[in-house]
Amino acid sequence: MINNDNYEGYLMRYADGELNDKEVAMVEAFLATHPELREELEAITAPSLKITPPLVTMPDKKALMQPVVSPISRKAIWRTIAAAVALLLAFGIVLKMGHHQENPIIAKNDVFKPISVTDSPLPDSLYIGRGKPAPLLLAKQHKAKEMVAENNSSLQQSSLEVNQDDEAPLNVMETTIEDIIEPLLANNSTSDNDDSQYVSPAQNMTNDSQNHTPVAQSISPVSRTTNLTVIETDQLVTLTPKPTDRHDLRVGNVIENNNIALAAEKGFIGKAIDAVTRFLMHRSEDGNEKCLAFSD
């Protein structure tokens, strides 16, 4: 209840609109009985007495601000990093593709039409590592063994030398044909029944070439005399057996060194070495794939 001892608070709250309706009615009733207080209240609440802010501004306002690293800038940073990584990956892929395509011989595969041992693609039957037997290859070796026995004394073969450039090769693996043939011959007993699938390359060769050497005659002497150097390098310079006009280089006929020589002479070194590599692959008796030599 408002009275002469506490009216100050009520009057001030009344002037500032801080009272509820009941309190307003009470204050107005009190002011009705105290008109001098109403005049005083009006005087002290005059707008001219209201405190006004000085017309100044905060000095050094910018010194209070903090540097902002906007989210856009962060996104830009990550975008830049992502773009750099993408460029590096693209560059690496291009280099990788270029590395695989640098052997021009691959692009000229159509030049060398293999003699028709069979019309079906041979690689599956020759790549033993793919889980299939190699009947054609084994039959070929079986046939070669028989022909070697018949003509062992009459054959003279030039050596096949695969030389490299004067520059040191990265990896060189040397082996002899004997090393290659022996494990193949060991499998002969398992492939005796595959002769029906075998068509000797010699049967498909024409006889008009003096340099022609039947495949069966070429195996054994080479296995005795030739050091075959298979080089894992991009630069094979010369192959120096006797050249031949034959174009029957293909997988399975690689042992015909004349064909390798021809391929090399014509500049298709990669083709020749590829054939050598395929030939050198065989499966050991325990079934584990073993690769004797590689070349590019």
Partner: protein, 165 residues
Amino acid sequence: MTTCEYNDCVKQFSDDLYRFALRYTGDGDTSRDAVQDAFVTLWEQHDELKFKGVKGYLIRVLYRILVSIHRHEMVCRNARDNLMPKQENYEQHHTFELHDAMQKALKQLPEIQRQLLLLKDLEGYDYGEMAAITGINEQQVGVYLFRARKRMRELLTAENLKPVP
């Protein structure tokens, strides 16, 4: 509150805070330092605060700073008066001071009346908010304000009636 929002607070509220402090202290340097301290406090806690209602937070912080400054000055002044009663030129040199009649009248008010008057007239707080800031009840806020306005009217009337030197 983000850094951008904090900077917005500086742009929007620093002038009001500075004027409030300047009315309270009458001294430009002291008011600037007080506002800077208030924004330092805000920055230290800006991660935990929201932009809405931040001005009230700043006023409360500034109020505490000003009260602390006032009390510190009072202690220093009393100490100087006791140690060097005859020395009169001990006031610091101030770069900027308010010398208008209103400021002179405000300086003669009790501290709590000056605070409430500034909170009410400069910031427009209601009684509940002023009670929360100052720590007194609303009825007492009304009493202090009534007395403050009554005293201001007396002082300003006397100032206006003072003959020009």
